[in-house]
């Protein structure tokens, strides 16, 4: 199905560069160039024999240099499913690449695109309501990006304050290691180094 569809898109929407990527595992994917997303979607909704009348998901996946936005379309008329993908270049952590909104094609895109913006920082041009949806409006950063650093403070409130993290147990292992004659013998389960950004605090030793 994907190959014919790619040809059909290419012949009807010039410059869309539809490309069928076959996968060994799971579903095949159709890549198109990002500038023509709206035209391709408009075409797919009414394409003879396909008629993708339902937009299931607009989502994305962050790779370090690019964000791949996937549009998962379904046809309830012909019982088809399609993963349509487009690549957006991402320059740095705060860069928000732009993409045409498809709200005029499917109303469902409204919420899905808002979520995509909220989580991955993809700006949708001509979106009727470009706000964050799940995070608060004044949230900083895009959580589902791989380079997202968890915020430490929000509106002056500390996120995950120290007394809520179980530090004592972590330090128990560390303490034992320090006291032991042979520290190599000690092993403990809580090994995540990000919890010791600047070493183990001394205060726990006094106990």
């Amino acid at each position: 199905m994907h190959n014919e569809l790619a040809q059909l898109i290419n012949s009807n929407v010039s410059g869309s560069n539809a490309e069928h990527v076959a996968r060994e595992n799971g579903d095949d994917v159709l890549f198109i160039s990002s500038e023509h997303i709206l035209r391709v979607c408009t075409f797919l909704k009414s394409a003879q024999g396909y008629e993708f009348n339902v937009l299931q998901v607009v989502t994305g996946c962050d790779y370090t240099d690019r964000i791949e936005v996937s549009y998962i379309l379904a046809s309830f008329i012909n019982n088809l499913e399609l993963i349509l993908k487009t690549k957006l270049l991402k320059e740095n952590k705060d860069h928000t690449p732009e993409l045409e909104s498809v709200c005029s094609v499917w109303e469902a895109a409204n919420y899905q695109e808002r979520e995509c913006f909220d989580m991955l920082g993809v700006c949708f041009k001509n979106h009727p309501d470009p706000r964050r949806i799940l995070c608060p409006d004044d949230w900083e950063g895009y959580p589902l990006r791989k380079d997202y650093v968890p915020a430490e403070k929000y509106n002056g409130m500390v996120i995950n304050p120290e007394h809520k993290i179980n530090r004592e147990e972590i330090f128990f292992g560390e303490k034992l290691k320090r006291e032991a004659v042979d520290p190599k013998k000690i092993s403990y389960s809580w090994k995540k180094p990000e919890y010791f950004p600047d070493g183990v605090p001394e205060s726990t030793e006094s106990e």
Partner: protein, 172 residues
């Protein structure tokens, strides 16, 4: 035309329709009341008076975790499987000349367990840790009444003597 399909706002309301409406509302409500009254007299009480009567949980109910530290070989499997990382284990390698220890099923203990703590406030009771335990020393018990005043007191160190003493009560 079925009366129920008629929208009272759209149609002109005649006396007949008004009375029909009232009758319909009245009769269906009476029918509903009949069903309710059947419940009053024919259904046995389904609730229990909690502090006096206590519910016996099914055998494989996933309530408070208990680790029988005498059988624990400190393999860290449970801590790895835990999706919320609420198990903290600290173990020390045994000296070569120390007397050999074995669990009840015959597995040799090569590590000395220094502490085995589970933060029950963080635990999501998914049961993944109990399924990977090779000696089956970590189990869910059916004990469910352990509310505490502070988050700190929800951390149980299973090597401490007072918790080891639960064994009699919890492990069946």
């Amino acid at each position: 035309m079925d009366m129920t399909n008629v929208n009272p706002h759209e149609d002109t309301l005649t006396f007949k329709k008004w009375f029909q409406n009232v009758w319909r509302g009245f009769s269906t409500a009476i029918k509903g009341m009949g069903i309710t009254f059947k419940y009053v007299y024919s259904v046995k009480p389904v609730t229990i008076e909690y502090p006096e009567v206590r519910e016996e949980l099914p055998k494989n109910s996933r309530s408070r975790l208990f680790n029988d530290v005498q059988n624990c070989i400190s393999c860290h499997m449970c801590a790895t499987a835990c999706p919320v990382d609420c198990i903290y284990i600290t173990a020390e390698r045994r000296e070569k000349d120390a007397p050999k220890l074995k669990t009840s099923d015959g597995t040799a203990i090569r590590l000395d367990l220094k502490q085995y703590t589970i933060d029950t406030a963080l635990c999501c009771y998914c049961g993944l840790c109990t399924t990977v335990c090779p000696t089956q020393c970590l189990t869910h018990t059916t004990d469910y009444e352990y509310a505490a005043y502070t988050v700190d007191s929800m951390k149980y160190d299973y090597t401490s003597p007072e918790i080891v003493a639960w064994r009699e009560r919890l492990v069946k």
